[in-house]
Symmetry: C2
Subunit: 397 residues, 2 copies
């Protein structure tokens, strides 16, 4: 693809994302729906104008890393740790319930073999951290208590989802699972999340120093983006989802950075302010590309809408997908409304689910009909919760 044709592709992505966002807002619809819809319309589902080629995927991936950076920037680690126990329970139950429900339904009710049933369960486990956080941000609820719990749970969910993916993939190849390997991965992930924010914090001090000493403008954008990219790469190297590298970099630069042993290492307020002011436009440029790309990667045309199996299968799977997440916060203490909000916010499935489904199709574990059914479920869990959450907050808060 010649360089100049990328210009047109990016132009179409950015303009349609904005157009549908503005339209969505005027129709009292969550903005992120506009971006997802732009992708569905531009992609293979409808017009087939835009193909998510490598360079576009790269920009999209940078977009989601930046969104997580922004989330990290606004995160108060202390509060995150305080709500941590609740997050762990929500993540754990929110991973297990949908897995068990979906597996049981597939294995016993639909009578599918073991491997497809396991992959169906896997597809429905991990919450889409991107969609969930974006919806909460659109509703300005990301700093609420339930927002904190959801953030922690979504991060854990994403990590566990990737571990589960690795395990099931191994199982599909060998028919067995090496628990030692799984333990190693979990250990390196744990080490990463303990040490990476500290390392990022150290580097952010150096960036701050350099910034004060530099005479050439432009240090903040290039160095902060470098920090994100480095930790995204590092996250991938230890087997974690790369978007969590952005979260780590954001945490390190947040105004409230607490060390585990109680020391408080705030970023100098004027520096934090400048980082925020300079990074916001960059984040706003890249994130829509991610959400449009999510829409681009859903091919609704592949679905055989006349097959009764697809309808029965996808609607029953959708029900357990929602139920599994909605029930998970009932295992923590808290107000009913808050727990409902948490459950609703955890419903969206996205990236990891799509990777599972794609893997299932490529390895022929999924038939076309099962793959189609899973795509419908992912699409519905992605597209419906923004509406429901918006209605929910409008009515009860």
């Amino acid at each position: 693809m010649a360089i100049h044709s990328y210009f047109l592709t990016l132009f179409i992505i950015l303009v349609s994302a904005r157009l549908f966002t503005e339209l969505a807002v005027r129709l009292k619809t969550p903005p992120v729906i506009g971006e997802l819809l732009a992708g569905v319309i531009l992609g293979p589902s409808l017009l087939d104008w835009v193909e998510p080629v490598e360079a576009v995927k790269l920009l999209a991936e940078i977009g989601i890393i930046m969104l997580l950076f922004e989330v990290g920037l606004e995160t108060d680690i202390k509060r995150l740790v305080e709500t941590g126990f609740k997050s762990i329970i929500v993540a754990f139950m929110g991973l297990n319930l949908p897995f068990v429900f979906a597996f049981s339904l597939a294995y016993w009710f639909f009578g599918l073999p073991l491997l497809p049933a396991l992959f169906i369960g896997g597809t429905l486990t991990a919450t889409s951290i991107g969609i969930t956080l974006r919806v909460l941000a659109d509703l300005k609820r990301q700093n609420s208590t339930e927002g904190q719990i959801v953030l922690g749970a979504a991060v854990l969910d994403d990590i566990l989802g990737v571990v589960l993916l690795a395990l099931l993939y191994e199982f599909s190849l060998d028919g067995g699972i090496n628990l030692l390997n799984a333990g190693k991965v979990l250990f390196s992930l744990f080490t990463f999340f303990l040490l990476a924010p500290l390392a990022a914090k150290l580097i952010s001090f150096i960036i701050h120093r350099l910034h004060s000493a530099s005479e050439v403008p432009g240090l903040i954008p290039s160095m902060i983006v470098s920090l994100m990219l480095f930790f995204a790469w590092l996250a991938h190297e230890v087997g974690a989802p790369q978007l969590l590298g952005g979260f780590t970099a954001g945490l390190a630069l947040s105004r409230r950075f607490y060390l585990p042993f109680g020391a408080f290492l705030a970023t100098d307020s004027s520096f934090a302010h400048e980082v925020e002011a300079q990074m916001k436009p960059i984040i706003h440029l890249f994130t829509p590309i991610f959400f449009v790309t999510v829409g681009l990667s859903l091919n609704l045309r592949e679905i055989d809408w006349s097959s009764p199996f697809v309808w029965v299968f996808s609607s029953s799977m959708f029900l357990v997908a929602v139920a599994g997440k909605i029930l998970s916060p009932l295992f923590i203490k808290g107000e009913w409304l808050q727990r409902w909000a948490i459950g609703l916010a955890m419903v969206p499935r996205g990236e990891i689910g799509l990777v599972f489904a794609e893997l299932g199709r490529q390895s022929q574990i999924f038939t076309n009909e099962i793959y189609a059914g899973m795509i419908i479920v992912i699409a519905l869990t992605t597209l419906l919760p923004p509406f429901i959450l918006k209605w929910f907050y409008g009515k009860f808060y």
Copy 2:
């Protein structure tokens, strides 16, 4: 290439660009030298760590488009038109003198055949608009009278360089030149530069309107970048250098936009200010990638440094390359110092020269030795003028 390995590539590019820039400034060297040097060191010339793959080239190309956008943003069309006649003469002489000098040297002194001699002339014609403007900006001289003349001349130069490239390429294929085709290209270029700023201005009004009406943040970065990308694509479609699309978009949003018939269409000052504030970090993020990529595309290792021909050829070509540009402002009226500054600023060759040289090599018009000699000349004209201009302004202004 997997997405996450791009993260490391971009990280290395951004960090080394900044490192060498800071180093350059501390050594009283122009900042752009640091970025070019970072590319030379990371590229095939030395470490061979980074390859300018497609996605990196795309970001680099966006970088140079953004630099030209920034230049356009700060351009006063009225002054550009006022100095226009001088710019035309400088561009015309600065294109012809090096071409005639280099061609004559190659054809008569070195006894090369017609086609290589023409391509050698072509390689040395077009000023690198990117390097020139960046050097002037580093010296804070971009708004001086000579800065205006250089800007106009460099833009014209770039257009004429592309037309010359098309003509010579055609000649190398058919052995003849279709003047009608050349006329058509020139006409469509002329139309583009007359109409595109007006169209961009119209679109910028719509963006301004949308901005006032929008509730979702992030409209400015995504829409302004879209505007740039669209005009870059359009420029390419009419056969102009795509970076001039960025210039057009910048002009349209500049505070001082005059129509040919004297009407004044300023961008609302507070909007212009916001566009600038939000675009600056994005421009600062992308432009270093361009200059590093220029360094990456110079392979100094391919040069056989032991060949006496390469030394004689490249040093004599370097002399005519410099002389051709230095003499060109002597055909306009003005102070001696100003005219020297203009000539010096026009010396850098870059993108179009490299395209010429690459085309010459691929079509085997250039032998390896001639190609190597041309690369040395381009490298020297790129790396030396920033030093000389800095010294010149330090001494005489």
